[in-house]
Every structure is written in structure tokens, then in C-alpha cells.
Subunit: 405 residues, 2 copies
């Protein structure tokens, strides 16, 4: 984010759209103050800062939202050297500078409004609502020691703020997904017998660079490239394994373009459709149909648990071992954008599968099965929730892409 | 870091050099266990992860160092899908995978060693030692509820671990500094009457991209470009102000190359040396001499407070207002690399100015004064501390760079 070439106007446009949402969400949740407390955000970023300040901050800073009785007030309390930059954004009602330390002015500002609750960015379950480091929390607790019993988690603000994609965000995510599929189809033309996973990843990286983009997640495993029956899928990087006739190829790929990500998995089979082993046919159909069933379940108001269950049950009903991950996650400025999750009730997912899905949420639908003789079959689609239902962002994959080497 | 093109071997080499240091530093500080607790590090990175794992992690993970009675044991406890990737690094004595949740195995591992202290990544003062988010801290506190009273800050481990640069790191930082100066001198040849700050920044960005590098900090203010008497220096981006005869130009620029940063400030004067106003001559000499005095004070064992004071006193003795920032910060994978700081005893610096400087620390020396009629004069050099003293990484600036437009 920090080094991105996203136009400044786009970044500011999104911040303005999100600031409008903050008031609405604070009112919905009956929270009258929210303090985003940051320092050296290049080293210790808060995942919400892209929506609150749209940039970096060096000194310890507090970005404060007050909301009560039709008063909605937005205050930036920053080091002297950051005052002009924050003022220039035109998003704050007041920008206050400090020199030696933030505590005096922060106490004054809070005392003046005297909020009933102070929402802070911590959450046991939700990484995206957990941007406040423990040391900074201790510092804030000391500064606002008279208000400690009013501290609450800002997750009820941050989760909808991230997940309700704005018009600008939806456009950018769609474009990232479209570019991903263009690159996938260009590379489909380039497969040659004897190519290694590493060579294929290098071609992807060249395309990404030609377009001046970044990979959606770390380059070493974006795209993941998995050739043939012996490759364990997962977060392992590409190897010297080669693609060959009668084998599959799987990838998991996305780009980051103007700050927004895509995340799509595709499968190729090297051979003609009539050469496809029954075992792979059955595996592919199972994965595809599980995604269809999940897709048909998604609508505003439902929980991610319900969606996951439909897909998971289908895979098990077809005789496969259950996949040990969630059926879908949100996508946004991060590949894994947090918040509501299409997942089972496992310890590591905490309460995320029970959050209700909303209009303008963008999710993946993804799952895999493992065949006995031909390796894994895995697909991942991107969907956006609409007023009444859901649609695929880009055309989904309904069969292997058949390539004759 | 995550999207960087740094060769995998370089990243792993540095992790191996740092892992060797961990044992030494834990013994020095009499700390018998250190747990680096992470999740979704792309969204919520810990500044120390570059030295502990050299990559990203998706699921909640614990990287554990035990050190007692000549037993030094390194354990990675990660989600199933990350097991192979961690094993492949060859840096762990044991890699343990989990599926549904981390708590059972984490409790087992800790119970078996039964450490006296558990160092965790939080610190009120040091952002680089404060990578553990508050929500993750609460989660860990719940999992290890029988051990809460053994929790201590890992700052005594992390600070020296970051600050004692290894051989590989010193080479990379030197190369980043050298490239910075090459770009500065190339651009010195390109200045033309009527150029704006924004145009100059664009040329810098083109050079950085041609070389396949990143800017050291966010592009919008890297380089900072400040032309003439009316520009407020700081973190404000470049404007439409133009360079012209009789004016100065100031920049603050660095590159990130193979994961390591540089940070250098330079000053130009558009005219001949004999056209330089006395006011600018006196300001430049004051800044240069303050840096010289600081440089001559630096050696292993001294505190940053002592170094800062020498420079600060000189500026005040020459009739200028005191600069409201520290005289120097460390540089490494981050432009502001944290730990020991060459700064005054101000609230916002906490205890950092009292940490003793060590061999192989890399610092900036930087400060500015404001003239009445010609704007600010500001320089920044990079130094490395040696066995007995200190040296400049690249030749320092001793006078304005004079350019005739």
C-alpha cells in the first residue's frame, strides 16, 4: 500500500466514501467515539488506515471520530510535521499538531467530548480489527487512565467499514479480477511440454511487471503453480516439477492493481477432453458443484457458516475427505480481507463464520478435493453480493481448460 | 517486504545470521523463552518477522525460541498448509502443524519446557519491538493463562537483534546508499530553469523504476523535494513550486534495494559559490559542523542522548531555533529502523535515547536550521559504528552542490 502507484485522487476518493460510512456505522452500533491510534505506520501498519487516513504516519497519532446527537466530528491529532499533509487532504474537521508528546492534547480532546464508549482497534478474532499493538494499547491506557472502563473493541465499526465495498472499490476489484483472467488466458497459449513450475511462475511475474502491477500476495507463492499428481498444494512455492501430457496444472493467482486485490484458482488438463481420467472428471465436477451450491446459498442476511456447510457437505457426500480451510474469504485491499468468513465453527475462525453477509461484500468461493492417483483439484471464484443475491465477478470455470502440449 | 524481489537466498542468509544472534542475546539477557506470535502477516505484520521467518504467514503461528543450560531449541508451530514451507527453510529444529486451532499444541510445547520467562513482542517505547497486536496478546493470554505472570517484553531481544547489522545486511545497506548517491548525481546534471518540485520527483521515480527498486518510504514523499525560500520542509509532498537562480533545493531521498533502505538529504544552490548569500553560508556551515560534532561523539557504548545533545547545542549556540526531531535514527529493512535513537529526552521518544550504541549499528545524522530569508537548510548522512568509532557510509556533503541553471 505504502509504495503503491495508486493515484492520490483514488486513495482520497475511497477515504471520503469510507468516512461517510463511519457515521452511519457508529450510529447503528451506538458507539460515540472511535480512536485510531497509530505510530510509524510503515513498520507497524493498522489494516484500517487505508480507509481512515489513506497514507502513512510517522509520529504517534490519534485519528478521532465523535458521534452523538447529530454531532459528527473528525479530528486528526498528529506530530507538527504531519499537520500540513493532513490538512491538505480536506477530510478532517480539525487538525491539531503536537511537538514533544501527544498525551496532553489527547487528554484534552477526549475530556471535552467525554464519550460513553471509546472504540479501539483490537479484536481476538478479527485480524483486520486488530491493528492496535499491545504496547500502543498500554500507552493509550496510561494516557486515558480515567477512561479505561469505557474501552471497547472497534470491530463492530471496522468489520462493516471494510466489508461494505464502495462504488470505487467495487470497480477496482472488478478490474483486478479481469486482469487476472486476461493473464491466465494469455499464459494458456504459452504452455510447452517440459516447462517447470518455476518457469511458469516466472512468466506470470513478467506479465505482472509489464503491466506495472504487483502480485496479490507474496511473489514467492503468487501464483502458486502445482503440476501433476505429486505436488502438495498449499503455500509452497513452485518447484522443478514439469508439466506433461495426461497431467493437470493448478494455479492460485491474483494481482494488486491500484491497491485492490484479486484471488482466483484455475485448473488445466494437458490432453483432450476424452483423455481425461474418470477420477479427475468426478473430482472436478464435485468441486464445481460444491461451488455452485455455495453460490446459490449466498444472499444478504445469511451467515458464512451456512454457506460453508452446503459446500462442505457436498464434498463429503461425494466420498472425499473434507478440506481443512474455509470455503471463502473476503477480498479487498488485502487478498484475505477479513471480517465475515464462509467457514466452519473451528477454533481458529472464532466468531467470524457467524457474521451476517451484506450487500457489496466481495468473497471468494474456493475448495479442493484430493484424488487417489492424479493429485488435487481446486478452484476459486470471486463473487459480489447484490441487493437480493449474488453474482460472479468474472466468468467462472466450469470445466478443465484443455491444452494439448 | 512481502512483494520484494529480494533473492530467496539473501532473505534466508539474513534469517540464519539473525538466528545465530538470538541465542547470544537471550543468554546476555537471561531470557529462557521467546514466542513470536503472528497471524495474517500480510495484513498485520510484525517488524521482527523478517529476521525470524523471512516471509509471510497466513494462519495464527508461534515461532518459539528456548534457551537454557546449553539447550537452544527453535520450534515453528504453524497451520498444516505452512508446514512444508517452514521445513524447507531449514532453520527450525522442529516444525509442528495444526489444523483446527493452535492452542492445544502451544500449551503442550510451553508446558514441556516450562520457561521462567516468556518474552513477547510488545513495547510502549519501541515500535519495532511492538509487533504483537492487542487482540493477539489477549488470545495468547487466554491460551497460556497459567503463565501470564511470566510474560515480559521482548524488546531486550528485538532491539539488539535488529540493530546489530550482520555482514550481509551491512553490504546491502551500503549498496542502497551508493545507489542513492548515484541517482542524486545523475539528477544534478538534469536541473533546468523552470522545473517544478513535482517534475523533479517524477525524474527520481523514473530512475528508481529503471533500476527495479522501490523508494525507501512512501513514494508521495520520497524523495521530498523542497525548492526555494517558501517551502515548508517536512512530510509534505512536492508542489508546483519551481527551482530558480539564487534559490536552494533540498531533498530527502532513499531507495529500498533487496529489502534494505537508505536515507540521505542533500542541498543544491542554483548559482555560483560567490553568489551564495551569507545567511545560507552560515546556515549550511552550522548544519555541517553540528553533524561533524555528532559524528566525532559517536562510538560504541555511548548513548544517543549524548550524541544528540552535542549537535543540538551547536545549533542553538549559532543562534538558531532548536530542531524538533532527533539527530539520528537507525536504518535497516525500514527507513526508521527503531531501537536506540540519537534524540533528546522528550516524551515521544521514551527510553530510546538512553540505549547504548553498539558496533555495526547504522544511523543517520540529520538536522536542519531555518534561515530568515532563504528557507531551511537540512542535511542527512548515513554512518556505521565500528569496533572503536564510526565512519560515513558514503562521502558526506561538505558544501552546497552549486548548479548554474
Amino acid at each position: 500500500m505504502d509504495k503503491s502507484k495508486t493515484p492520490r485522487e483514488t486513495i482520497l476518493q475511497i477515504v471520503k466514501e469510507k468516512h461517510l460510512m463511519v457515521k452511519e456505522i457508529m450510529s447503528e452500533n451506538n458507539i460515540d467515539s472511535w480512536i485510531v491510534f497509530l505510530r510509524e505506520s510503515d513498520a507497524n501498519p493498522d489494516p484500517v488506515q487505508a480507509f481512515v487516513i489513506g497514507g502513512e504516519i510517522v509520529w504517534t497519532s490519534a485519528f478521532i471520530f465523535f458521534n452523538r446527537d447529530n454531532i459528527f466530528q473528525k479530528i486528526a491529532l498528529v506530530g507538527t510535521y504531519d499537520v500540513d499533509a493532513e490538512k491538505a487532504k480536506g477530510i478532517w474537521d480539525e487538525v491539531i499538531g503536537y511537538d514533544e508528546g501527544i498525551s496532553t492534547k489527547l487528554k484534552e480532546v477526549v475530556a471535552e467530548f467525554n464519550p460513553n464508549k471509546i472504540a479501539l482497534n483490537y479484536s481476538v478474532d478479527s485480524v483486520m480489527s486488530d491493528g492496535l499493538s499491545h504496547g500502543l494499547f498500554l500507552k493509550l491506557k496510561k494516557i486515558l487512565n480515567n477512561y479505561q472502563d469505557r474501552f471497547i473493541s472497534a470491530a463492530p465499526i471496522i468489520q462493516p467499514l471494510r466489508s461494505r465495498k464502495t462504488e470505487t472499490e467495487l470497480k477496482l476489484i472488478l478490474e483486478a479480477a479481469q486482469v487476472t483472467e486476461v493473464i491466465n488466458s494469455e499464459i494458456t497459449e504459452l504452455f510447452k511440454n517440459g516447462m517447470t513450475e518455476i518457469e511458469i511462475q516466472n512468466i506470470y511475474h513478467s506479465k505482472v511487471e509489464e503491466l506495472g502491477l504487483e502480485t496479490s500476495w507474496q511473489r514467492v507463492s503468487c501464483p502458486a503453480v502445482d503440476a501433476g499428481p505429486d505436488k502438495q498444494m498449499g503455500h509452497v512455492g513452485p518447484t522443478e516439477l514439469i508439466i506433461q501430457k495426461g497431467h493437470t496444472l493448478h494455479n492460485d493467482f491474483g494481482v494488486k492493481r491500484d491497491g485492490y486485490c484479486s484471488d482466483i484458482q484455475r485448473m488445466w488438463f494437458f490432453g483432450k477432453p476424452d483423455q481425461l481420467p474418470d477420477e479427475l472428471r468426478h473430482a472436478f465436477d464435485t468441486v464445481r458443484d460444491a461451488i455452485t451450491k455455495a453460490f446459490e446459498t449466498v444472499k444478504p442476511g445469511i451467515t458464512g457458516f451456512q454457506v460453508d456447510k452446503v459446500a462442505r457437505d457436498h464434498v463429503i457426500s461425494q466420498g472425499y475427505k473434507e478440506f481443512m480451510h474455509a470455503t471463502g474469504h473476503q477480498v479487498g485491499t488485502k487478498t484475505h480481507d477479513g471480517g465475515a468468513l464462509l467457514g466452519p465453527h473451528w477454533e481458529r475462525y472464532g466468531g467470524l463464520p457467524d457474521i451476517r453477509l451484506e450487500k457489496n461484500n466481495v468473497f471468494t468461493l474456493e475448495l479442493h478435493v484430493i484424488t487417489e492417483n492424479y493429485g488435487g483439484v481446486s478452484l476459486e471464484e470471486m463473487i459480489v453480493i447484490t441487493d437480493t443475491g449474488v453474482k460472479f465477478l468474472v466468468p467462472r470455470q466450469t470445466d478443465f481448460i484443455f491444452v494439448e502440449l
